[in-house]
């Protein structure tokens, strides 16, 4: 057995989900005996069988990735409850193992996966999808690139044909549920979520959180953004959201206003003062970068 064959064989076993009692499964999905695979690969010692030694890696794998996903999606956990979240997380991570060198990207495919496997969010589908989008936006906003900002002085030069770039940390979300409120209640300190080189003792029991009641549906328009290192969720009006979305799509200011007015059926003269107020606010939050070359 050469190096890559050995590594494939070990990974195939260690990425199999654990049993309910957090042990290694005795068989692979194709029926092969894990005990026999372990015996062929791993030396036993005077205290542990080959199976038990390989099981340590199987447990470490799941304790680590489950811990990481749990830390990243406290709102989804709160919405579903721990038991349902754990079931969802195991299924997701089993189908979508990490393809990145950093655990930060572990949840990158969760929204797309849930759209196909919505049985895991039955009864709360729309709210759960909103929550996942919000929590992923939170991760993205936390460490996105800082582009130079358009200052208040620079804002004076804005004209109809101006094309903005929105800061990469700014994410615009249209949600059917007020998931921002729910997430604020269930959020844990991001300080817990760091990569290190130590072994992990168990599933993150200490991080367990209480299940939240499903909030009443109610459309909210959110800007997830970063200010002085912290991520905030800012509620927007529907018109402001439409305008920012159009600007984010690369439309000039003039075209973006037209597009958003078309949607709201209002005239420019009706919202002139409002526009000025919005832009002052957005410029002060540093949401606009000068157009790229």
């Amino acid at each position: 057995m050469n190096l890559v064959e050995l590594q494939r064989a070990v990974f195939e076993v260690t990425r199999q989900p654990l049993t309910p009692s957090e042990r290694m499964r005795p068989r692979l999905p194709d029926g092969r005996s894990v005990r026999e695979i372990a015996r062929a690969l791993i030396k036993p010692n005077d205290r542990l069988s080959s199976f038990e030694r390989l099981q340590i890696y199987n447990q470490q794998y799941w304790f680590r990735i489950m811990g990481s996903l749990s830390e990243d999606f406290p709102g989804l956990r709160s919405l579903l409850g721990e038991r349902k979240f754990e079931k969802l997380a195991v299924a997701y991570l089993n189908e979508c193992p990490s393809e990145s060198f950093t655990l930060r990207n572990l949840g990158a495919r969760l929204e797309a996966w849930l759209r196909v496997h919505d049985q895991y969010i039955a009864g709360v589908k729309r709210a759960a999808l909103d929550m996942v989008r919000l929590e992923w936006a939170n991760i993205e906003a936390f460490d996105a690139l800082d582009l130079p900002v358009i200052s208040a002085a620079g804002a004076g030069k804005i004209a109809g044909g101006t094309v903005f770039r929105l800061q990469p940390h700014l994410h615009l979300l249209e949600c059917a549920y007020p998931v921002d409120e729910l997430l604020r209640r269930s959020r844990r300190l991001e300080a817990q979520n760091e990569t290190a080189s130590n072994a992990v003792l168990n599933f993150p029991q200490k991080a367990r959180i209480r299940r939240s009641a499903l909030p009443r549906p109610g459309k909210v328009y959110l800007a997830v953004h970063r200010l002085q290192g912290a991520v905030y969720f800012k509620r927007l009006t529907r018109d402001a959201f439409a305008l920012l979305t159009a600007l984010g799509e690369g439309k000039s200011l003039e075209k973006a206003i037209e597009a958003s007015l078309l949607r709201s059926r209002r005239r420019v003269d009706q919202i002139g003062a409002q526009l000025q107020e919005w832009f002052q606010d957005w410029v002060s939050l540093g949401w606009f970068a000068p157009p790229g070359r």
Partner: protein, 282 residues
């Protein structure tokens, strides 16, 4: 001996790992610390708070980068995106040397996020050495590889772990981040004499030493970094210092992290093991 070409000819003394729960203390009290070790992956991002914190740290302290996911031992090629981000971080921190583990953890583009031990074969040693050289050439900084704690051994192994370590570092011409706690943990799990391991380490290649605590279970020892360093590990450390001279030393404490002062005090115990005539110099 402490300053050598594998640690950028630096002489850093005793440091501790930079961890989030200590940020507030560090910025408020500005404690005197010889250096901080950062986990590279926590700062290989585009922007935001992690880099702002790092820049603040760099204004006052020396930083050495320690990685957890380069996986020199994986059969697959190095991840170019990883290397590019790592190089950007190297330029930011000016780390005099860079460390990662002599292990594998990815296969076919999928990541375990664990430090899986190597099969100690000549094929694996050759592949790891080749990848270390490639990484060093790209990153343009000396690299030292760390021996990992392990809980399993492969039938296909053709040599001991210390023979494998020698094979790799000689072929790659790189340094060693000697983790004496990992030697202790593995010696307990695989029934070997940790001092025999130490005796085989090429002292001139030791760029840095790690010390840490671990957890003893009924049938095995787990490298949890959540306790103070125990006496048998200090004994190994003392022997390592005898062999290599006063070398840059770092205490790892990654879980159930106590106060900054407690972690720092535990790390500074390392100074007791430096011979008095060399203490000034270190």
């Amino acid at each position: 001996m402490p300053a050598n070409r594998f640690n950028g000819n630096s002489d850093y003394g005793v440091g501790i790992g930079l961890r989030v729960p200590h940020y507030e203390h560090i910025f408020a009290k500005k404690p005197v610390v010889n250096w901080f070790e950062i986990i590279s992956e926590n700062f290989m991002v585009d922007g935001g708070r992690p880099l702002a914190i790092l820049d603040q740290i760099l204004e006052r302290y020396r930083v050495v980068q320690h990685g957890v996911s380069m996986y020199f031992g994986s059969a697959e090629p190095l991840n170019r995106e990883h290397l590019k981000r790592l190089k950007a971080l190297v330029k930011r921190t000016h780390t005099p040397w860079l460390t990662d583990h002599l292990c594998w953890g990815s296969v076919d583009g999928r990541y375990t996020h664990d430090l899986v031990p190597m099969p100690y074969t000549f094929e694996a040693a050759k592949r790891a050495a080749q990848k270390i050289r490639q990484a060093r050439d790209f990153l343009e900084v000396p690299i030292a590889v760390e021996n990992v704690s392990s809980y399993a051994e492969f039938h296909v192994s053709e040599m001991t772990e210390w023979e494998f370590l020698n094979e790799v570092v000689e072929d790659a011409d790189c340094g060693i981040l000697l983790d004496v706690n990992n030697i202790y943990v593995s010696s307990r799990n695989h029934n070997f004499d940790p001092f025999e391991y130490l005796r085989a380490v090429p002292a001139g290649r030791v760029a840095q030493i790690h010390i840490a605590g671990h957890t003893q279970y009924r049938k095995y020892v787990l490298d949890t970094h959540d306790h103070p360093v125990i006496d048998p590990v200090w004994a190994l450390y003392a022997r390592a210092i005898e062999m290599a001279g006063p070398t840059a030393t770092l205490l790892e404490w990654d879980d159930r992290i106590p106060s900054f002062d407690e972690v720092h005090r535990e790390a500074l115990k390392a100074k007791r093991y430096v011979p008095s005539e060399l203490r000034e110099a270190s």
